[in-house]
């Protein structure tokens, strides 16, 4: 059984991105499961002074990434870019650079917005940030625009083309995860 860690960049209770993430989980193959990290809102602003003794929520995220075979990020877009909370969490996870659990970790990025462009620029920037950290990033985007109409209650895109694109993204993520070495036992300093 492989594990995909889902991270939603939105803290909103009724978040479209969290819903999309859970919908994506239903499309995973039987031998894969989605585990959603739901403590993003607990992560304080990154401070290098605390890098050696990070807050518990940061440790939890690092452990979850280390334990996962792949990561699926669903991001909204604020002012054409990544939500601050999500970028901040990845800044924590990326340090120290030599021991980041994102190194060579297969990651895919999807996103939804109520606007016309489906968080397409936030997804691009997310891919850039993840690649910079050292992750193996799936080179695909899934912009779900006007999410109030385009996303079903089940978290799946209502348009078939978009569902197929989501499946293709997940297939590629699973394939990358299958080729990657098994996750090491999490060795995240408490």
């Amino acid at each position: 059984m492989s594990t995909i860690l889902g991270i939603s960049g939105s803290l909103r209770r009724e978040s479209y991105n969290t819903r999309l993430l859970r919908g994506a989980g239903t499309l995973l193959p039987r031998d894969a499961e989605l585990v959603v990290f739901d403590r993003l809102g607990e992560i304080p602003p990154y401070n290098e002074d605390d890098e050696q003794t990070p807050p518990e929520a940061v440790l939890a995220l690092k452990r979850a990434i280390a334990d996962a075979d792949g990561v699926l990020v669903a991001t909204p877009e604020y002012n054409g870019s990544i939500p601050g909370a999500l970028k901040n969490a990845l800044d924590w996870v990326s340090r120290p650079r030599a021991s980041t659990p994102l190194q060579s970790k297969p990651v895919a990025v999807i996103g939804a917005s109520t606007g016309l462009f489906g968080a397409v620029w936030a997804q691009a920037e997310m891919r850039k940030v993840l690649a910079t950290i050292g992750a193996k990033v799936v080179d695909r985007e899934l912009p779900i625009a006007q999410a109030e109409d385009a996303l079903g209650d089940d978290g799946l895109p209502s348009e078939e083309d978009a569902r197929e694109a989501l499946s293709a993204t997940l297939d590629e993520l699973i394939e990358l995860a299958a080729r990657a070495p098994a996750p090491e036992q999490a060795n995240i300093a408490a």
Binding site: G115, L116, F117, V120, A124, Q146
Partner: protein, 183 residues
């Protein structure tokens, strides 16, 4: 449905029945998708002189723009697009109207958006006149015109990460008017 001929449209002023009319636009975004919006507040009339010469004029309150996403509405009202604080109205005044026997209609006129005026040609149909149950003479007009939004100072765009641009430059303007002849 009867078909209008220039002769059948009586002289006088025909005003817009706002309950049964529509003023909106459509533009492609993300290369393949079409986005539509509309304006809630608009006014206009068709005046037909005793010599039979018609003139169509109208105006739109740009702040009344209706789109599903309120953040998008805010962006559309900003200087990136309509700049409604400086340019609250869109206006149109016809310079020539050609209504044909088959109901097809071609209207040429001056369209002013954001302080920029350009001559446009709109095509569509005219139906009626028809007397409704209250004895009012009514006329239906449907028109479409495609304009390059950049000519009107609506130049915002952004490259997409995987090629192409966020928003098409061609915008289809769509009006559907029910006109009532004033007594």
């Amino acid at each position: 449905m009867s078909v209008a001929t220039p002769e059948a449209i009586k002289a006088g002023t025909w005003s817009i029945d706002k309950v049964h009319s529509h003023a909106g636009f459509a533009v492609k975004h993300m290369v393949v998708s079409t986005f539509r919006g509309r304006f809630e507040e608009y006014d206009g009339s068709l005046t037909v002189g005793e010599d039979g010469r018609p003139q169509l004029q109208g105006s739109v309150v740009v702040d009344s723009i209706v789109v599903k996403d309120e953040n998008l509405a805010g962006h559309l009202k900003s200087p990136d697009f309509f700049d409604t604080a400086q340019y609250p109205e869109i206006t149109f005044r016809s310079t020539n109207i050609d209504a044909r026997e088959d109901g097809s209609l071609e209207v040429e006129g001056d369209l002013t958006i954001k302080g920029n005026t350009h001559r446009v040609t709109a095509r569509g149909t005219v139906s009626g006149p028809h007397e409704d149950i209250a004895g009012n003479d009514k006329l239906g007009i449907e028109l479409e015109a495609v304009v390059d939004r950049r000519e009107y100072g609506l130049e915002w765009n952004a490259p997409l990460p995987k090629g192409g641009f966020a928003l098409d430059n061609d915008v289809k303007l769509e009006v559907s008017l029910e006109l009532v002849r004033q007594a």
